[in-house]
Amino acid sequence: MSEQLFAQLLVSGLGMGFIFALIAIGLTLIYGVMDVVNFAHGEFLMVAMYASFLAWQAWGVDPIVAVPVVAAAMFAFGVGVYWLLVRRVLGKSMHSQIFATFGLMVFLQALAQFLFGADYRAVQQSVLSGVVEIGGIALPGPQLASMAGASVATALLYVLVFRTRTGRLLRAASQDRVAASTLGIDADRMYALAWGIGAAAVGAAGALLSSFYPVFPRVGGAFVLVAYVVVALGGFGSIHGALVAGVLIGLLQTLAGFYVSSQLKFVPVYALYLLVVLVRPRGLFGRI
């Protein structure tokens, strides 16, 4: 096999990997801070992709330009979901917590189908479409941009969570809610913040993804399942873990798609989930 082909597979795998990581970081942050799995996370991605697509359709805004705007809008959306829905099931049974976001998933998917129909819609002629030639190797522009965009977003998130006062408060609330409250940290605000940041991360991923992937009401499904695997492999609640695992899984599914079967490329990824949670439940970097 040619070096060029391998390089292209690698870039495409890394590109998807960074997107997976960005989606998973949102999920793992919410989980880490409040032990709640957002079953509507894939639909958050779908909402962000529609937002990015509609901005392009209405005003010709390129998805790459829309990334910060979509991320900001999704921050508000995440905080809203926390205040209106998640806050009300805190402290209730596991069933209530699972079904609240599960209901949101069903609702958002149906809403998208109601408003836009089941058609696949795609951004045409993004500034990123086409290929970039580096050293005689043709590399797909959207994947390169998604790598770059996702790296920047992850770095920003990392700084926010690990290098700022807000991030310290957030981590304190996630480590021990009661102890944090006694120190005057408002856990409720921290939870809202986690939902906002988590939704903003998946929003950035959605805007980047929409530059080369069609949007449709059920688009979240495949991505969120992979994101669960990423979160499990990285260790539930670990941001570094989600980043490393996202890149690994992006490479795994691209290589499996090429060498085994493009139809079955996600099967080894799903099998990996079972392997991780059964053999090493704390994943690569988990705390449990």
């Binding site: 609240a100 149906a110 109601f114 129909g117 399942l225 996600f266 989930y273």
Partner: protein
């Protein structure tokens, strides 16, 4: 005590009236295939909801992957009837058995997982099954399998001209499974299952093996859903991955009891009686544009229920029945005590 007797008499009267209405429904409807089909699907979905409830409601192991068992039942039936020419009366139990075995095989590793770890495991298993069957040519791959058309009648479990037969078969399945779940709920086995849901460690400390109880619940739950899959294959005479293995099907199976009432006998029936007409009529009103209004309402209802009424519509109805009898003053006092306790 007297209160309880009166309450169960009320239920018995309701049950008898419901049963008679269900039996007479085709005659009352006359020549209305749309409504007949809808009632058949209500029975099928209510039975599916019961199946999910055995594991998800009573044992507390929420699965979002029960489509696997539906698909197993449907595919085993389609293969035995279509490829080997077997009788559907043999194929249906075989499908249920296959689903139960698959359930136990999935449960063996996955029951070591708790809460959302388990839920996600069922999701990835179901999606993997879809992808694998979709790519597996001997099972027809993405093209699916056709079942042969045979003369109408109960012997072949085919009612091509007059679909009333399908309705009665589905109604019989629902009645059978409802009786089974009702008996299960009152049995010591049912009590252990609910105890596992509420406190697994306590159950273990009493000398019961939660793993074994969960596996039996899984086998029963999967077999019920598998039998429904077999019935569906006979009803539609065609199976393919999107119709019997899709993740949306797993979601629907879970939605029915969650809306109707988790861990209750009436919940799945109420859930199906709300969901199916809602989806069928919305399809008519919006003339098949695939607008999914039913799921829009459903998703909103699930959110409301998880916030305000975790016991589902069955709980709401039960309260209404009880509230209608209780004096208004007593109800107000009860509500105040409840609020005081929560605060």
């Amino acid at each position: 005590m007297g209160d309880r007797v009166r309450f169960s008499a009320r239920w018995a009267a309701l049950l008898a009236a419901g049963g008679l209405a269900a039996l007479a429904a085709p005659a009352l409807l006359g020549e209305r295939p749309f409504e007949l089909r809808m009632l058949t699907i209500v029975c099928l979905y209510a039975t599916l909801g019961h199946g999910w409830n055995v594991l998800g409601g009573y044992a507390g192991q929420s699965s979002l992957g029960h489509g696997v068992f539906f698909g197993a039942g449907a595919y085993v039936t389609a293969c035995l009837v279509g490829l080997l020419g077997a009788s559907p009366w043999l194929a249906l139990p075989a499908g249920a058995l296959a689903a139960a075995l698959i359930g136990v095989a999935i449960g063996w590793p996955c029951f070591r997982l708790r809460g959302h770890y388990f839920v996600i495991a069922t999701l990835v298993v179901a999606e993997s099954a879809f992808l694998l069957v979709n790519a597996w040519e001997p099972l027809g791959g993405a093209m699916g399998l056709n079942l042969p058309i045979r003369p109408d009648g109960f012997a072949n479990l085919q009612f091509g001209r007059d679909k009333t037969g399908y309705y009665y078969v589905a109604l019989a399945m629902l009645a059978l499974v409802t009786a089974l779940v009702w008996a299960l709920q009152r049995s010591s086995f049912g009590f252990v299952l609910r105890a596992i849901r509420d406190d697994e460690a306590a159950v273990r400390s009493l000398g019961f093996s939660p793993a074994r109880y969960k596996q039996v619940a899984m086998a029963l739950s999967a077999a019920i859903v598998g039998a429904c899959g077999g019935f569906f294959a006979q009803y539609v005479l065609f199976v393919d991955p999107p119709s019997v293995l899709a993740l949306s099907l797993s979601v629907t199976i879970a939605l029915i009891p969650i809306l109707g009432g988790i861990g209750t006998v009436s919940g799945p029936i109420i859930g199906a009686a709300v969901l199916v007409p809602l989806s069928e009529y919305s399809r008519v009103w919006f003339s098949g544009t695939g607008r999914n209004v039913d799921l829009l309402v459903y998703g909103a209802l699930i959110m409301l229920i998880s916030v305000y009424r975790p016991q589902g519509l069955a709980g709401v109805l039960g309260d209404a029945l009880r509230g209608a009898r209780a004096p208004a003053g007593a109800r107000g006092a009860g509500a105040q005590t409840g609020a005081g306790g929560a605060g």
